[in-house]
Symmetry: C2
Subunit: 156 residues, 2 copies
Amino acid sequence: MNRQTRPQSCDGIVFGEITSSVGFLLRLAQVRAFEEFYDVLGHHGLKPGEFTVLWVIRLNPGARQGDIARVLSVKPAHMTKLVQRSVDEGRVERHVPEDDRRSVRLRLTAAGERFVDDNKQDFLNFAPAGAPSLDEEEGRMLVKLLRKFNGMEDVV
Amino acid sequence: MNRQTRPQSCDGIVFGEITSSVGFLLRLAQVRAFEEFYDVLGHHGLKPGEFTVLWVIRLNPGARQGDIARVLSVKPAHMTKLVQRSVDEGRVERHVPEDDRRSVRLRLTAAGERFVDDNKQDFLNFAPAGAPSLDEEEGRMLVKLLRKFNGMEDVV
DNA sequence: TATTGTTATACTCTATAACTATA
DNA sequence: TATAGTTATAGAGTATAACAATA
């Protein structure tokens, strides 16, 4: 007796076997998560990609731009733009070290640290808010499986 | 004793609490799934979004363009472009019914049906290939949780 | 007035290649 | 010759608003 709302199957449209495709489900989940992200955090002028980069810089001050891009699966060309924007906003400082002048090392400015601190709670709390349809245990299980899917089981 | 590859944590970069953010994990998972999708199926000229739309039209011939867009969380403006492309490729026919001449109803051409048939197996089989790090039971659990996350538990 | 779909514009993110400056 | 980052361009996708045709 299914009387729940079924956002993806209204209008009598059927999906067939595609409902078991991980890729298909991931796309829908991400669209949903982003929509909710902007509903909840949009007023801060917060963008998911931008905040994630600031977060990682904060935890790894002086890390190389290319290394951060690689672990976040952000393409170098896009990373340049992301960093440039954060520099323009006064949240990130770039530093070219003497021992390898091809590379760029990143750290947050005081304003950048303040920005991360101010939005940290909202950003981290967003996760459970993003999954109101899952109970706590299911949410933990989803996180665990996604981490494994991403090859991140033992990442700190 | 963790000697596995850890693609997201090389270079000694740490992630902190963000590794429990569903939104963050979903983005990484989708990037990974799309990369693999293009590696495996790119030679067919197959695009995930385009194929999904063809698939749903095939299962729901004569469905309205707007209804399909809604259930797939595709924005109307983008749907127009997707459909236009498939029409140009000779895979989809548009039909404006007499009883409501604002709407557009879609169905596959013979070439469109052939295209879906030819690529169906590859597309559906892609899911397990996308998650080599998960065993069969974990894969089923991930699908189940993502379906629930998406509010699709009882979607056919 | 409301609804369906279209057009136009802008922004995020990805993909790729060509380029610079270093090493 | 290889590496780090930049620039430029293309494309997929989303967001939004204005619009025409129809209801």
